[in-house]
């Protein structure tokens, strides 16, 4: 037997290299990498040639020199500032429109997503039409449309005003804001007092409840003090706090806030919040487009909670509103969050379309810088890196979140 195995093994101990899996695996990878390196080398040498032809050495020193171009909106900036500062203005503008867009898109997305599941035929179908129309038309076209609309708004002197507080004209959209008065701090102290009072009330209430029940409840299933506190918080904390806060409003000598309405002064509106036409058009476009996608995410997330879960909840005797609140929504949140995050990322990336209508975001300013300095390679590197940092941090958060959620799902 031993003998047989030895002779049989002999013909196979020295495998020809072209059939040896271990060799082939390494060989293919090396071949692949060599191909990549050759390609990269080819591009690199072309780049050197190209740069020499254009007489533009790769060099980052331009970043500290004076930018010399104006930026229509954003954080404090002057054309005399450096290119680096100008780029930073673009980054901040991108982040700004992304965050505001995400907030609006989430609100509208959830409204339309839930509306699509409404028992009301009309509401359900209006939401469906909204979703189908806006997600099947290119975002850029929508942005162009809104930009054309905002550009077609009347001149300042003929502004459209809605109930004296919202103003629309060719310079943009003006919204009222709340502004603090000197009395704000006084009111703030009422708020603190409210919080403290609410805590005291909760504890007193909980103590009454707890010790009052001790006598009647059987020793073994005595409720914990914590659960009584939670019960107390639920019923007493918010009302107490609200009463004190509202009382505070009347007790201060003047209101802590005033509404700051946009008002016509000379040839322009002053006060309130101003969104430029470009910002408004981009914001409307991003919000409407993304909210249509978010609506679908929300709808399918809620529908994904299996029917059996709902039936089980009903069988336990929960009311319809309780089924939704206690069973369906908690289970659909983990399903909704991952695709929701990727919609947020899409919105942030799509904000780069602002460049087409002149909103000074990251790409737009980068493009201007390229045209002025000719340093397209490092500037492209900076643009890509900025977007990558945004995307990768968000995906890292997503992975962490998913990991947590799946772990909870398994343990329960």
């Amino acid at each position: 037997m031993h003998h047989a195995s030895n002779t049989m093994a002999q013909n196979s101990t020295n495998i020809p290299f072209y059939r040896d899996i271990r060799f082939l695996k390494v060989f293919f990878q090396i071949l692949f990498l060599i191909g990549l390196i050759l390609l990269a080398g080819f591009l690199y040498s072309n780049m050197l040639h190209g740069l020499r032809r254009q007489n533009l050495p790769l060099d980052l020193s331009f970043l500290s020199s004076e930018a010399g171009f104006g930026i229509s909106e954003g954080i404090d900036y002057d054309p005399a500032d450096s290119y680096l500062k100008a780029f930073w203005v673009g980054v901040v503008n991108t982040v700004k429109i992304s965050i505001i867009g995400i907030i609006f898109a989430t609100v509208f997305g959830f409204i339309f997503g839930i509306a699509r599941l409404s028992s009301n035929w009309l509401i359900r179908n209006i939401a469906a039409v909204y979703v189908e129309i806006f997600r099947n038309i290119p975002l850029l076209l929508q942005i162009f449309f809104w930009a054309a609309l905002t550009r077609a708004l009347p001149m300042v002197t003929n502004s459209i005003t809605i109930s004296d507080s919202i103003v629309l004209n060719v310079r943009g959209i003006y919204l009222p804001t709340l502004e603090r008065t000197p009395e704000f701090n006084t009111w703030l102290s009422y708020l603190f007092a409210g919080i403290i009072l609410a805590i005291i009330v909760v504890f007193v209430l909980a103590a009454f409840r707890h010790f009052g029940r001790l006598s009647e409840v059987h020793h073994t299933d005595r409720p914990s003090f914590i659960s009584d506190i939670i019960f107390g918080t639920k019923w007493a904390a918010a009302p107490t706090f609200l009463i004190v806060a509202i009382a505070g409003l009347f007790l201060t000598s003047e209101p802590p806030f005033v509404v700051n309405r946009p008002e016509l002064q000379g040839f322009n509106y002053v006060g309130g919040m101003n969104f430029t036409p470009e910002f408004s058009a981009l914001l409307i476009g991003l919000t409407v487009y993304t909210s249509a996608f978010i609506a679908e995410v929300v709808r399918s997330g809620i529908q994904a909670v299996v029917k059996g879960q709902r039936e089980a909840a009903r069988a336990v005797g929960l009311k319809e509103s309780q089924v939704l609140r206690l069973i369906v929504i908690p289970q659909s949140i983990p399903i909704i969050v991952p695709p929701l995050t990727s919609q947020y990322l899409n919105l942030a990336k799509n904000s780069s379309l602002g460049t087409a209508i002149g909103y000074p975001e990251l790409l737009h300013i980068g493009h201007t810088m390229m045209n002025q300095t000719g340093q397209s390679i490092p500037i492209f590197g900076m643009i890509m890196a900025s977007y990558l940092i945004m995307s990768l941090t968000t995906s890292a958060f997503m992975n962490w979140y998913n990991y947590r959620i799946t772990r909870i799902g398994r343990s329960s």
Binding site: S5, M8, I21
Partner: protein, 251 residues
Amino acid sequence: MTENTTNDPIIICEDVHKWFDDFHVLKGITTTFKKGEKAVICGPSGSGKSTFIRTINRLEEHQRGTIIVDGIELSNDLRNINLIRQEVGMVFQQFNLFPHLTNIKNITLGPIQVRKMSKSAAEEAALALLDRMGIEDQAYKYPAEISGGQQQRVAIARALAMEPKIMLFDEPTSALDPEMISEVLDVMRELAHSGMTMLVVTHEMGFAREVADRVMFFDEGVVVEEAAPADFFDNPQHERTKLFISQTLQH
């Protein structure tokens, strides 16, 4: 036990070791299977029995020792692996039929793509095999449209269509409803009588007693005991074997 067992070795394993990361699954298996032999492999779950038969057609790579199948050593030689997979058929616990293909296409895929048979010849052979399995009327249905027992018989036909010299069965009846187990065991019994070399991982002790030439008991990566079924069941030598047999027969 069966008359058609010969003395020619067809599978030779020497000191076979296998690790999953740090977990030592197979701790030196040395054994030989003869042409036409029917071996039943049993043991508690996690004992390495499934891993062992999966090393024989290289679904798992062994990390030490030698395995020689039909004169071909299983090594990193690409050609040998392909050759051995043609000689060794395998039946899985979960059937693993291809759900997007009809039953007959499941069977003819290997012969046409690997053995380079013509489509018509392969289909003819497949229909004959299905006939032998007693399910020729299910040929043009999809796997999801037939019962578990029928699916497993299609899976056996799929393995046989490659005309293998050795058949490996990895718990072929464990995923079946009780009333379907016998129809699969009948087919396997018939196959055993035809002289096929068979390695069967199973808990069906009745089948082992009736068909096997040898029963091997695996525990913690080693062969604890191996013997002809009569000796194995009636006169086990090791404590662990005794315990296992009493537990299996109890239910």
